[in-house]
């Protein structure tokens, strides 16, 4: 019996409207309590695969064996019964309810009479929470919890259903570093208790650190599965992408021109104070800082979404008295926000329509009619340049794209407008390595063509790799500026935590 794998997928196939998304997937999770890393580009088929496991989607053909027994979930309840729990990237919690209520929504302890007992629910919830070492009142509204804590609640929910296999889909994207450490500790504890896990992530270092085995999926097929000790980061990347990426960060020499955007002593009551910097055309300026340092708030204030209290903004040396999004768009600034998915996409519209949306002004011909041929040409070129995976750009809706490809569409949309100033906030978060590479290349191209780019990120490596200069923010003030020759991870981090005495990471 020792050899019967905990979970085995044999020849799994799945198509959506004629497009085969999974092709003969073979995968096995052998040991109880082992952690299998699953890596692959956006749209490679990871989400489809785990949704089949969780009963959300049905497979077309193939078999799934759970400890040798065929398993064929028709819905989420079947998966629950079989002991498989999915922890989705977008957490499945109800913010308007308490932790205990979230835990016991489908079945509830102590409800023999048909009426719920909050006393029993809270007591049981407390027990479950303590199991993973969390001491929090189960009557707390989920809305008031940090992202990390919400993730823990999701895990507790899985465990309360006696899960044997827990699948994590990108669990760390919205966690602070501390929260991530806590998550990893808990994952290891679960593994010690014999619970097997599948861990999906784009953060390859995490996968290498955490997992016992790694499987790489590309274009719907498993390319390879082997123990982690036989894997390297670059090996995984080339397996995922199918080509070798020589330089993860394609830095190119640029010739910075005149100053396009200058900010002096900008203040906003809660978010930042006395911020000054300038941005030249043809340069990529990095803005680094930890969560809560005020980076995004600064960008929003410059763009005119949030109010500015005092200070001056100059655009091509002309003062901008009342910054407003309409004005900036008119004058050539594009701003790609952190919440791209919510703020930047028309979900039920086609990929093409989404892409041309910001650029309609330039596609206008006589009588204001849109030039369909140019629309076609330009959207196609963006799809090529960012390698957006879509089977039919005119018919596939944005909703049907995988997460990473949705992000590429939003970015592509603004890139088409060839802005003079581009502010990008975390453009590569949740995006796979191949797509990151495409995005960096594109930013470089734009800078070379004369755009001034403000690149906000909390990933030091990408800023070091791509930027000409980096300014660092901490608790609302600029604590330093480094030129390319002085780039150094340690110096950046020191500047970023300069004024933080106690560890305090803002929650959201």
């Amino acid at each position: 019996m020792a050899d019967t794998p905990v979970l085995q997928l044999i020849g799994l196939n799945k198509s959506f409207s004629g497009v085969q998304v999974l092709k003969n997937i073979d995968l096995s999770l052998v040991m109880k309590g082992s952690i299998l890393g699953l890596v692959g580009e956006n749209g490679a088929g990871k989400s489809t695969m785990i949704n089949i496991l969780g009963g959300v989607l049905q497979k077309d053909s193939g078999a799934i064996l759970l400890e040798g027994v065929p398993y064929n979930p028709k819905n989420a309840k079947d998966a629950d019964k079989a002991g498989i729990a999915l922890i989705h990237q977008e957490l499945n919690l109800f913010l308007n309810m308490t932790i205990a209520e979230n835990l016991y929504l489908v079945e509830s302890p102590g409800s023999k009479t048909g009426l719920l007992s909050y006393r029993v629910m809270n007591r049981e919830a407390q027990k479950e929470l303590r199991h993973v070492g969390i001491d929090i009142n189960p009557a707390t509204l989920v809305e008031s919890l940090s992202m990390g804590m919400r993730q823990m609640v999701e895990i507790v929910k899985a465990l309360s259903k006696k899960a044997r296999i827990v699948v994590f889909d990108e669990p760390t994207t919205s966690l602070s570093n501390n929260e991530k450490r806590h998550l990893f500790t808990i994952i290891r504890e679960l593994s010690g208790k014999g619970i097997s896990m599948i861990y999906i992530s784009h953060t390859l270092d995490d996968v290498l650190e955490l997992c016992d085995e790694v499987a790489v999926i590309r274009d719907g097929s498993i390319i390879g599965q082997s123990p982690t000790r036989e894997m390297t980061k670059s090996g995984m990347i080339s397996m995922m992408v199918g080509r070798k990426l020589d330089h993860m960060f394609p830095f190119v020499e640029k010739r910075p021109g005149p100053i396009v955007l200058r900010v002096e002593d900008l203040c906003a009551q809660k978010a930042f104070r006395n911020v000054s910097f300038s941005l030249r055309s043809g340069e990529i300026l990095g803005l680094f800082g930890l969560m809560g340092a005020g980076r995004s708030e600064l960008a929003r204030a410059i763009y005119g979404v949030d109010p500015v209290e005092s200070g001056r903004i100059y655009f091509k040396e002309h003062p901008v008295r009342h910054p407003a999004p309409e004005w900036w768009v008119e004058n050539g600034m594009a701003y790609i926000t952190e919440n791209r998915r919510e703020e930047g996409l028309l979900m039920p519209k086609s990929v093409k329509e989404n892409l041309v949306l910001a650029n309609l002004r330039n596609l206008r011909r006589r009588l204001g009619a849109v030039d369909a041929r140019q629309e076609e040409r330009e959207s196609e070129s963006v799809i090529q340049r960012l390698s957006i995976k879509t089977y039919d750009k005119a018919r596939q809706t944005a909703r049907m794209l995988s997460g990473g490809n949705q992000q590429k569409v939003v970015i592509g949309k603004w890139l088409m407008t060839q802005p003079e100033v581009l502010i990008v906030d975390e453009p590569t978060r949740g995006v796979d390595v191949g797509a990151k590479f495409d995005i960096y290349n594109h930013l470089n191209d734009m800078a070379r063509e004369g755009s001034a780019i403000l690149f906000i990120s909390s990933e030091m490596e990408e800023l070091i790799g791509v930027c000409d200069r980096i300014i660092v923010m901490c608790s609302g003030t600029i604590t330093g500026e480094l030129d390319r020759i002085d780039f150094d991870q340690e110096r950046l981090l020191t500047l970023a935590i300069r004024s933080i005495k106690h560890e305090h990471f803002a929650v959201e």
Binding site: G54, V56, N75, A76, K77, D80, H88, N92, L93, F94, L95, N96, M97, E101, Y104, L105, V106, E107, S108, S111, G114, L115, L116, E143, Q269, K270
Partner: protein
């Protein structure tokens, strides 16, 4: 700075929590100053009696709203129910039979709404807008566009019986309904699942909650309680004219929203929430009558109340919690 935000937040919270009670209290004060009879036990009972029909229907609507839907067919359901109950009662059907007919009538309309919304996935607003017209049309056909009169044993029993010589039976029906509704919403899995659905419908489905079945049931309940409300108000008014309960759905919806039940789903209570909303709306109407206000004032004030109710709801729904 953080203490400042904290205190502001706690003021907001206090306002959201107790604001309605304060508004209600202020209204009572204002109207009492216009007419000394306003603040009296007799008028309090009167107010509750007037609130019974709307309160019962609003309690039913809470199910639909909390789970993220809307039902604007309630006025017509009230009309249909009162027409059918009156017809049967005039032919000699007893009290128990009349109640059964009222409920059955509402359940029939509710099932129709529920079927189209949950099985065929048609937008609730459109489904119930269609029933608003169809159901009223059917009821008008039944009456031949004539007024009916609910002056018989059943009508009198419902409208005039006072338990212990003091508490009108309609008030008892209202209180029992509110109590049961609140228990189902708060103390059953079904009730809690509605809150989950209203917050995140897709998430609820993924979790294995029977979203379609639950949605269907919310419309059935909303219909059933509309039917009951039709019987109550029919008996109270006595004369069922062709325009009976026309536009009533908006008074019901306004009351519920005013009482903190969110149009966006996932939030609200039947008691005290929706009930307090109904009391405030009725209090305004009652007070205006006693203050001898002009007819047009009612309409204007009704509009203002709707506006504020929805505005407050929208303000509460900015941010993450939807």
């Amino acid at each position: 700075m953080s203490t400042l935000r904290l205190s502001r937040e706690s003021i907001y919270n206090a306002f959201y929590k107790y604001g309605l009670f304060i508004v209600f209290f202020l209204l009572v004060l204002i109207f009492s100053s216009f007419n000394s009879n306003f603040f009296s036990a007799a008028n309090a009972v009167n107010l509750l009696q007037q609130s019974a029909s709307t309160g019962i229907a609003a309690a039913g609507l809470v199910f639909v709203l909390v789970s993220g839907g809307i039902d604007i067919s309630m006025g017509s359901t009230i009309f249909l129910s009162s027409v059918i109950v009156t017809t049967f009662a005039n032919k000699g059907v007893g009290i128990a039979g009349s109640f059964a007919i009222a409920l059955a009538c509402g359940i029939a309309v509710g099932s129709m709404n529920g079927f189209f919304v949950s099985v065929l996935n048609v937008v609730p607003l459109i489904v119930t807008l269609a029933s608003l017209y169809i159901v009223r049309g059917v009821a008008l056909a039944l009456t031949g566009v004539q007024s009916l009169f609910f002056f018989n044993k059943v009508g009198d029993a419902v409208a005039y019986t006072r338990i212990g010589g003091a508490i009108p039976v309609v008030v008892v029906i209202l209180v029992v309904t509110l109590f049961l509704v609140q228990v189902v919403l708060n103390r059953t899995l079904f009730g809690r699942q509605l809150f989950a659905m209203g917050n995140n419908r897709i998430g609820a489905r993924i979790m294995g909650i029977k979203v379609n079945r639950n949605t269907f049931l919310t419309y059935v309940i909303s219909g059933a309680l509309s039917g009951l409300a039709g019987m109550v108000s029919g008996a109270q008014v006595g004369a069922i004219t062709p325009t009976f309960a026309e536009g009533q759905e908006f008074i019901i919806i306004t009351s519920a929203i005013l009482g903190g039940v969110s149009l966006f789903g996932g939030k609200g209570t039947a008691f005290p929430g929706a009930f307090l909303g109904v009391l405030i709306v009725m209090c305004i109407e009652n007070g205006l009558v006693m203050a001898g206000a002009n007819m047009y004032v009612y309409t204007i004030i009704r509009g203002i109340v709707i506006f504020f109710a929805v505005m407050i709801d929208c303000m509460r729904n900015t941010g993450e919690l939807r």
